[in-house]
Symmetry: C2
């Protein structure tokens, strides 16, 4: 399964790719407007007429390119899914782990820095994903497969790697996994989606978060 994963991800990215080159100027405007309005008002509360208006196109133009409103949503949300977890499957990423003495701090630093930037750059789309995922059963099923088949296995191997190196405590991997994923996602979502208006020193926040994740907030002995 693990050999297939890299190919699978390539397909996934290809399949999900926006493929901007083949898109009309007006089509790009539509996607841009729809992204804004979906993230502002939610999918259901957004109307195709308003999207058309903000995009500066006729309403019919939307339906030339997308059969339904849901098609439009999926064309926005779909491409982001694979990209969100893509770094896990990149060659650069594997190399980092192949180096036998990679410090786990450096590993976390790279992940947090990269995903924080990613989340900030795609904040609007991520908001849409978070909002609409619970109400889109097909998409939800797809994501669940993505995680249970690929992401979970990948992260488990990463922790096995660092555990074997004696860099993290010995504990059931699903607990370590749950805790650190919560920490990473919590930190990224807090600063990129929930409270983007609070300005922070990224490097400091990242370093502090890693320190707390590895050594806790209790009094150091």
């Amino acid at each position: 399964m693990e050999q297939n994963t890299e190919q699978w991800l390539a397909d996934m990215l290809q399949l999900m790719e926006g493929d901007d080159s083949k898109k009309t100027e007006k089509q790009l405007k539509i996607i841009q407007a729809a992204t804004e309005i979906f993230s502002e008002k939610g999918y259901s509360a957004a109307s195709t007429s308003e999207i058309a208006q903000r995009a500066g196109v006729a309403e019919g133009t939307i339906f030339r390119h997308y059969k339904t409103k849901k098609d439009l949503l999926l064309s926005i949300v779909g491409p982001i899914l694979a990209k969100t977890v893509a770094p896990l499957f990149m060659r650069d990423f594997a190399k980092l782990l192949d180096q036998p003495y990679t410090q786990i701090e450096d590993f976390y630093r790279a992940v947090l820095r990269d995903r924080l930037d990613f989340a900030r750059k795609n904040a609007k789309i991520l908001r849409i994903v978070i909002q609409e995922l619970p109400f889109q059963p097909e998409l939800l099923a797809q994501v669940k497969i993505l995680f249970s088949e690929h992401v979970f296995a990948r992260i488990s191997r990463i922790y096995a790697h660092f555990q074997a190196q004696g860099q993290i405590m010995e504990a059931p991997s699903f607990r370590v996994l749950r805790f650190s994923v919560t920490t990473i996602v919590g930190m990224v979502l807090t600063h990129a989606i929930l409270m983007p208006e609070i300005s922070i020193d990224d490097e400091e926040e990242i370093n502090w978060t890693i320190d707390a994740l590895l050594h806790g907030i209790g009094k150091r002995s």
Copy 2:
């Protein structure tokens, strides 16, 4: 400000209270049906006719009790807000901190146990809150005031307390606060809302989470 807070919370809870005693049987049915449908399909995608149908009442009956559909939403979502952070302001809670040698582990254990149960019991309503809060400006403003005026100050004092006792590390309180709130919320949301179908040993998960929060997931020296 701090003296007013207790009174303020009493008012808040009173004001927000469902006050079930004064409600008609059909009105309770409406709230129950609306809660289900809102959490299943989202506020905008839910129709009043479907709510009426599931509640077993005429559509007009809904509008006897609630001027608008949004009124119905707020009557469901409103009462939960104060309750979510209520424990912070309870007398029992203050007592726990007045005892000079309360272990921070015991403190976290009480908080996690209590809020995990709360989130499970109110999972549907909490889902609605999470989904709709970004799209309800008045409600969002209310929540922001709630946190910046009361919750933030309260939690800061708690950490000052434990910091003075030497039970947690010395670091900018906003960082400790952000990290531990993320940890608590992340753990509760994961098991109560995101993945309620995964059965866990609550006590074990709570204890392990507290241990990781205080001492990290790094190798123990």
